[in-house]
Symmetry: C2
Subunit: 215 residues, 2 copies
């Protein structure tokens, strides 16, 4: 009964919760969500199999925390990508492409962010998506016809969200070939589709200016 922590200097880890989240993301990148196990995460963090349960109620809670971290990183990427985009139309269209490119980089990360079971049971994941909506809403209002109610702007964002997620899903499951090879092409296609969507929600009579379809 000499619980000498091996592979570590101190008995206490310091910040096990954060370390576990990080390790979880690494594991998922390697073997996917299905291959992930709390036991393996504990092993890699040089901690006993029971330790993670001090910080996370169950396997799903750890996965949700990791997903939240992914969401945080995504927002940083998003803010970066739209920094110098002038028109609201193009800003909305750009997000779709950015999202696809981010998906290629974070792969497994998005797998958990969008895992059906997780999102249904962990509301904080949906809340994190809602923050994106807040960031984009002003652009959506600019685009939508002046007479239309606010709901239309929100509906447009939902549609864009749906579109982007759908593309990401298809990309990650390899529908278009090896994800790494086709990211850029898919991103461009997503952007174009988003442009079409945005154009469809804006009034043709308004001072839109951009043609809204090809390239």
């Amino acid at each position: 009964m000499a619980p000498t922590p091996k592979g570590r200097a101190t008995y206490h880890h310091g910040d096990l919760a954060a370390a576990l989240v990080q390790t979880t993301l690494e594991i998922i990148d390697e073997v996917g969500v299905r291959g992930f196990s709390v036991a393996e995460a504990a092993r890699r963090t040089c901690v006993s199999p029971g330790a993670p349960y001090r910080h996370f109620a169950d396997r799903d809670a750890l996965l949700a925390a990791a997903a939240l971290e992914v969401s945080r990183r995504l927002r940083a990427i998003y803010l970066d990508s739209v920094a110098d985009v002038g028109s609201a139309q193009e800003r909305l269209a750009t997000v779709a492409g950015t999202f696809v490119r981010a998906a290629a980089r974070y792969r497994g990360g998005l797998d958990i962010l969008f895992a059906p079971g997780l999102r249904a049971t962990h509301p904080e994941l949906r809340d994190s998506s809602r923050e994106f909506v807040d960031l984009l809403l002003p652009s959506a209002f600019e685009v939508v016809a002046p007479g239309e109610a606010a709901v239309t702007a929100v509906a447009l964002l939902d549609a864009l969200h749906a579109l982007a997620r759908g593309y990401v899903a298809q990309l990650l499951e390899g529908k278009f070939g090896d994800p790494d090879d086709v990211v850029e092409e898919v991103a461009i296609r997503a952007t174009r589709a988003a442009r079409a969507l945005v154009a469809g929600y804006g009034v043709p009579s308004g001072p839109v200016g951009e043609e809204g379809r090809d390239r």
Copy 2:
């Protein structure tokens, strides 16, 4: 010693494979993919825990078979829903709404049909989606600008697919509230978004005729 099959008349089941697929769908409807286990499926089918492995290589293979069954049922629904839709534009837009409504009915079924891990490893699932593409391609060709290459028609279908899947994901994870309560509304919104998408891909100069946005 005495392998007397209990709960069954004969030692052999008759059509265990099909029964397992059916049971799998039921279990998933009740407790979701995450709650599903081969052992439970065997139990409900009154068969030993090892029996399923005579018919399916592993857990995922059984899930994939169940997903394929879902895909088959979906196609039936689809064919039904577009039977009396006249214009190609509306046919394409209708599919999106149909898909959303079907999602509400088959819930868990769609969870496996679109489970990231499964689709990545079981190509037959992607093939089954491709059949839908074949069914819709003619309509897509009608809609797309005459000068555009065939790729554009395919791209439009990919975009529609992405859009519909994205809406379904959001619906099933409860983003809009209890799925049962909001199906119809979401279906309408998906249809509208699809209409916008279709309009964006078609030439404004063509003999399209339909306005392509609000209701």
